[in-house]
């Protein structure tokens, strides 16, 4: 009984333990495989992978790190949402209070901010790696395309989040960014040929982005919804497709024999 192995055995025979892990792990081929496909998270992986997939020097782990950064951002982001009102009267004070009032508010916001920067950096390096190993080539052409869209979504996630603190930095970054929308050919009121469609500042692309003709309360609400709901949703769906296709296209691309 005092023997640690005994205790271990007892725990493993416990009803609760068994209900969770089903069976004992004995480091056999079968069990190692079971560990992968018996687990909802791990079964994205195949049971066996090429040796190179385990080595850091080939993939640099960048795709995985990107996904991990995304998870950190989702978790911190959800907690941040508890403390935040997307209105121009409250947004700025809410962010101030994160620092001054909310328990662990400082680290929460810092993690979210730097995690976002980090994700952008990592996703760019990931793309660079995939290009350098030629991993976009057949049969993975489609998945590269998904990846490019995910890259764009990452930028947009970060960009929409910029406005939420409602400070000078975010406000003017968004103003500069959305002013580009006004220059869209045909659909932006400053863009070429827009006069043929009777485009004004009140019905162009920028108006649609901001919910108004200038950055104000509606723009903040829109940025918030895009940032917290719409883009993450699309991103998650595309990420599933991305991972699914990695698996279905034969795992990590490796030189063919």
């Amino acid at each position: 009984m005092n023997n640690p192995t005994d205790i271990k055995e007892r725990i493993k025979k416990n009803l609760v333990w068994k209900s969770i892990f089903r069976r004992d792990y004995r480091n056999t081929v079968r069990d190692r495989a079971q560990a992968i496909f018996g687990n909802i998270f791990l079964h994205l992986h195949p049971v066996q992978v090429r040796e190179g997939a385990v080595k850091l020097r080939f993939t640099w782990g960048m795709g995985g790190i990107t996904f991990f950064a995304f998870i950190i951002l989702v978790i911190t982001g959800v907690v941040l949402m508890f403390y935040y009102h997307p209105s121009i009267e409250q947004a700025y004070s809410d962010i101030k209070d994160l620092e001054f009032q909310v328990p662990f508010g400082v680290i929460l916001r810092n993690l979210h901010r730097w995690g976002a920067h980090f994700m952008v950096i990592v996703v760019m390096i990931h793309m660079f790696r995939v290009f350098m190993t030629g991993s976009y080539k057949a049969p993975r052409q489609f998945n590269w395309g998904i990846g490019v869209i995910l890259l764009v979504l990452t930028f947009l996630l970060s960009f929409t989040g910029y406005l939420t603190p409602w400070d000078q930095l975010g406000f003017w970054a968004i103003t500069v960014g959305t002013n580009m929308g006004a220059a869209t050919p045909l659909l932006g009121y400053q863009g070429p040929f827009s006069e043929f469609l009777h485009i004004t500042p009140f019905n162009d692309v920028r108006f649609a982005l901001l919910g108004g003709s200038r950055v104000a309360g509606n723009a903040l609400l829109r940025a918030y919804i895009w940032h917290c709901v719409a883009i993450p949703l699309v991103s998650v769906i595309l990420m599933f497709v991305h991972f699914w296709r990695v698996r279905k296209d034969g795992g990590i691309s490796k030189p063919q024999k």
Binding site: R32, A33, A35, I36, L42, H45, V47, Q48, V49, E51, V54, L56, R57, F58, G64, I65, F68, A69, I72, Y92, K96, V106, R109, L111, W114, H117, F118, V120, I121, M124, I125, F128, F131, M132, T133, Y136, K137, A138, W144, F155, S158, D167, Q168, L169, F171, W172, A173, V176, G177, N179, M180, G181, G188, Q190, G191, P192, R214, V215, S253, P255
Partner: protein, 294 residues
């Protein structure tokens, strides 16, 4: 304080410093592996990983994933404890900061605004960049270099991509962050920002150089010829060249693929051309039309 250190230690810019370090590191690593593999190929030996077997996912892969996750978490936590996220003054629509900079990852596009009108720099070019990136797998029909680092086997692809990635994307970001001051003027890191500085703005257009008003009909015609000529020549000249030197490749490549590739390529090359015209010859527009300017 030294203005350079001041810029570099701004909380948001620390991310860019980290990016520069990471990108440099991984670029060197990638090219080193590519050159190693090139040597192996030249010697007729199998490339790295060609003969490798399979391993169980559990635990080697799972374990390494866990370790990386831990390392990333440690890194991010440390970063978050040491550096506080910036929060500037409350938004004030009446007070435009000078310079008003976009988030750093969009500074490349903002830099393009110096050389192109917003509809090009802000809408058309970004769209083409996305389309172009997605199109890469479909226009790169080179079957070699799939699944391993190599340079010799896909010189053209890597050089073109690297040009776009390092020069037109990352370098422009670095310029935008560290070298652009009030009025989007160029400042060396050791220079003080001077809000009252005024710099000669080139307003002349290409045809003005040879004495023709760019807004007149002859100017319009000259511009149209130049711009469209560039497009046509950019598409026709390589065709002639390839037809002569590599007819088999061209045939295999196909007409549609050829057109898409050259269009994207010459569009990309128009960026450095326009930059040179602007920075060296102080020329603003090449072609002025009543609807848009190029």
């Amino acid at each position: 304080m030294n203005p350079f250190i001041e810029i570099i230690t701004q909380p948001d810019n620390i991310a860019i410093v980290i990016m520069i370090m990471l990108v440099t590191f991984f670029t060197l690593w990638a090219f080193q592996q590519a050159l190693d593999n090139d040597k192996l190929i030249a010697a007729g030996k199998p490339v790295d990983g060609e003969n490798e077997g399979l391993v169980d996912t559990f635990k080697p892969l799972v374990r390494i994933e866990l370790i990386i996750a831990l390392a990333v978490m440690v890194f991010l936590t440390f970063w978050s404890i040491v550096v506080d996220a910036p929060l500037e003054e409350i938004a004030n629509p009446t007070l435009t900061p000078n310079p008003a900079k976009a988030p750093w990852y969009f500074l490349g596009l903002q830099e393009l605004l110096v050389y192109f009108d917003p509809w090009l720099a802000g809408v058309v070019l970004p769209t083409l960049i996305i389309v172009g990136l997605i199109a890469i797998p479909y226009i790169d029909i080179n079957p070699r270099g799939n699944g391993y680092y190599s340079f010799e086997e896909r010189k053209f692809a890597i050089v073109t991509f690297s040009f776009g990635f390092f020069i037109l994307w990352l370098l422009l970001i670095v310029i935008g962050v560290f070298f652009r001051g009030p009025g989007w003027l160029w400042y060396w890191p050791w220079q003080e920002w001077d809000h009252a500085r005024v710099v000669f703005e080139p307003t002349r257009d290409l045809s003005n150089v040879i004495g023709i008003d760019s807004r007149s009909l002859p100017g319009f015609i000259i511009g149209a010829i130049l711009v469209n000529g560039y497009l046509v020549a950019g598409m026709v000249a390589p065709y002639k060249y390839l037809k002569k030197k590599m007819p088999d490749f061209l045939k295999q490549f196909g007409m549609i693929r050829y057109l898409v590739t050259t269009f994207l390529f010459i569009t990309m090359m128009s960026i450095p051309i326009k930059m040179v015209l602007r920075l060296v010859f102080l020329i603003k527009y090449i072609w002025i039309t009543p609807w848009f300017n190029v």
